[in-house]
């Protein structure tokens, strides 16, 4: 037999020009779809910055350090909304960190495979609950039946109830991110600890948790970021819809960044259009965006560090 001719040549595989044109067109449209995410980010940032600047131009800068957040009467105290935000997020962390980390350590270190299958859905179900539902829960149960019963001096609308509600919403996030970090710790570390005679508690607290520190820190920061950005619960129970004086009292009404934006949007502050009051929406939005962005970037950095050392 003579040397066989190749049945398929490179030219055959390349296909016709129509086929190649189609390939290029498809590739191009997918590239545009991917590039769109950059466009979205750019529009978010530009519209926030542009409108925030036009807000700052309209107002007297001393209005930013007024005694409270009352957009209708030109009081735009940034301290009021951000102290409120951090009170709510701080209370939320008091709920979400112990519950989330406790659940994560239990699921990762203590639960049998079967117990994990039955208990993990509790966290997943909690994660799937819309914030409006938790807001309703905070309004009808947490505020009147828990907060006001424990602290008779608390008003019906208060930052503490909002913080508890936001904490419920942040718990599943802290739990899942922390559990992923704990499960990524190599089994050999646990076996080494057991081999030295350490019991489960010691293995968890002295070996596994320290090894997963980066991931756990990332989980807590992410939970905090989620708490800072949460809107509905705050709008419904923090009591800042008509504006709020500067306060550090968690048992009284207050305003947060997200709550202030929502109040401006639904018009309970009676403002509209291009007035300075309405434009303050963008200024607060920009600050909120910067704070959550910084938190998320920090969290991502900790996740990367966990991966490098893990």
């Amino acid at each position: 037999m003579a040397s066989a001719k190749p049945i398929v040549t490179a030219a055959d595989l390349r296909g016709g020009s129509a086929r190649r044109r189609r390939e290029t067109a498809i590739r191009g449209s997918f590239a545009i779809a991917a590039g769109l995410s950059i466009v979205i980010s750019a529009i978010i940032i530009l519209s926030l910055i542009g409108n925030a600047i036009s807000f700052l131009r309209q107002i007297d800068l001393s209005w930013l350090v007024a005694g409270g957040w009352f957009p209708r009467s030109d009081q735009f105290s940034i301290a009021t909304v951000f102290v409120g935000t951090f009170i709510v997020a701080g209370v939320a962390m008091l709920i979400a960190v112990p519950l989330g980390l406790g659940a994560a350590i239990y699921l990762s270190e203590y639960a049998s495979a079967r117990a994990r299958r039955t208990l993990k859905p509790v966290i997943e179900l909690l994660a799937g609950i819309p914030s409006i539902v938790v807001g309703f829960f905070a309004l009808t149960l947490i505020s009147p039946d828990i907060v006001q019963r424990l602290f008779p001096s608390a008003t019906f609308f208060n930052l503490l109830a909002a913080g508890i509600g936001v904490g419920i919403l942040s718990t599943p996030l802290v739990a899942t991110v922390a559990e992923d970090a704990l499960r990524a710790v190599p089994q050999s570390l646990r076996e080494g600890a057991y081999g030295l005679g350490a019991r489960r508690r010691l293995t968890s607290t002295r070996v596994v948790v320290p090894a997963a520190t980066s991931g756990i820190v990332a989980a807590v920061i992410l939970g905090f970021s989620r708490a800072v950005g949460e809107t509905m619960v705050v709008l419904m129970v923090a009591g800042g819809t008509g504006g709020s004086s500067f306060t550090i009292n968690a048992l009284g009404p207050g305003q947060t960044a997200t709550g202030a934006m929502a109040a401006l949007a639904v018009g309970t502050d009676q403002v509209k259009g291009s007035s300075a009051a309405f434009q303050s929406l963008f200024f607060v939005g920009l600050l909120l965006f910067v704070v959550t962005f910084a938190l998320n970037v920090t969290s991502a950095r900790f996740v990367r560090r966990a991966r490098r050392h893990g």
């Binding site: 398929v8 590739r27 519209s47 309703f136 149960l141 350490a198 010691l202 950005g229 929502a262």
Partner: protein, 311 residues
């Protein structure tokens, strides 16, 4: 050194101590307790909602599901809001899914590992962490003010703006879940397709996408659930402009035009009224919403279990 000594001391005392490790048991029960606390919160939340909302549902039945907004609690229903949410979900499906899946296919299958690719991937992850109310600002600037200049959107107005805003909100989630599904498809499958002369698109279309379909489907269905329950961005794009329209909504057109046009918005408005009858309506609305969400999540889990393949 110090850490090692401390560990050695702790281990030593653990070995020398008595048979029962009480503090260890206490620690274990505290951990289990935090999980149970989450369970208690979940049960209390559902109980509160069902106890308050069920009477409305059993008394009114289909009437509550069909009726539009009204200033009388006995006549108000969730029909218009359900219709509005349904239309917005369709907009999300049509807009966010093709773009999101396309972007993920580009990032996973086409793009080389350049700084631009990495920047896009990082950007998508950051977008997923942006608070939802900030998407409302984007919606306000882009889909209300700018869109209004191009076309007169007053008739479908809020629904179109709301649907597009929710599409942008879930886009990062669709991209991330689709990317994960694509990454789980083994390289050998692609190499086999290339080996018999398939182009990149043919490989993706006939081999990679079908293999990744269960994961993509689960992710997209879950992102729909997210869009359905989201309220905050809708506050800014004017979905709820007035409090009550007059009379019930009897035609589809009136359903679409009624000021209430999303289930969570309707629940919010009812919750904020001091009249307890409206609180019951809000609870009933939540029961309806949670039932739909449970069904949707159930479908997603069923799809995953039915079609998932281990490689």
């Amino acid at each position: 050194m110090i850490a090692r000594d401390a560990t050695a001391a702790a281990v030593g005392s653990g070995l020398r101590s008595g048979k029962r490790d009480w503090s260890g048991r206490l620690f274990a029960s505290a951990l289990l307790g935090s999980l149970l606390a989450a369970l208690v919160i979940l049960v209390a939340l559902l109980w509160e909602v069902v106890a308050k909302g069920m009477p409305v549902l059993t008394e009114r039945g289909v009437d509550f599901l069909a009726a539009g907004p009204s200033s009388l609690p006995a006549e108000a229903g969730i029909g218009a809001a359900l219709a509005g949410s349904f239309v917005m979900i369709i907009i999300v499906t049509v807009v966010a899914f093709p773009i999101g899946i396309g972007a993920a296919v580009y990032l996973e299958e086409y793009a080389r590992d350049t700084w631009l690719t990495r920047a896009i991937a990082t950007n998508v992850r950051n977008l997923a962490g942006v608070p939802s109310i900030v998407y409302g600002i984007l919606g306000l600037v882009l889909f209300v003010e700018a869109l209004n200049r191009v076309v007169d959107i007053r008739d479908l107005g809020s629904l179109l703006s709301g649907g597009l805003t929710l599409s942008v909100l879930v886009l990062p989630i669709v991209i991330i879940t689709t990317s994960e599904a694509l990454r789980s498809v083994p390289r050998s499958l692609r190499e086999a397709a290339f080996g018999v002369g398939a182009t990149r698109w043919e490989t993706i279309r006939y081999h990679v996408l079908p293999a990744a379909a269960p994961g993509i489907l689960t992710g997209t269905v879950l992102s729909l659930a997210r869009a359905f329950g989201e309220t905050a961005p809708l506050l800014l794009v004017g979905v709820s402009t007035g409090f009550f329209s007059t009379g019930g909504a009897d035609t589809i057109e009136r359903l679409l035009r009624s000021p209430y046009s999303a289930v969570p918005m309707q629940i919010l408005n009812w919750s904020l009224f001091p009249n307890p009858a409206f609180k019951s309506l809000a609870a009933a609305g939540i029961v309806v919403m949670m039932t739909i969400l449970l069904l949707v999540n159930g479908v997603a889990i069923w799809l995953r279990n039915r079609y998932e393949r281990a490689w």
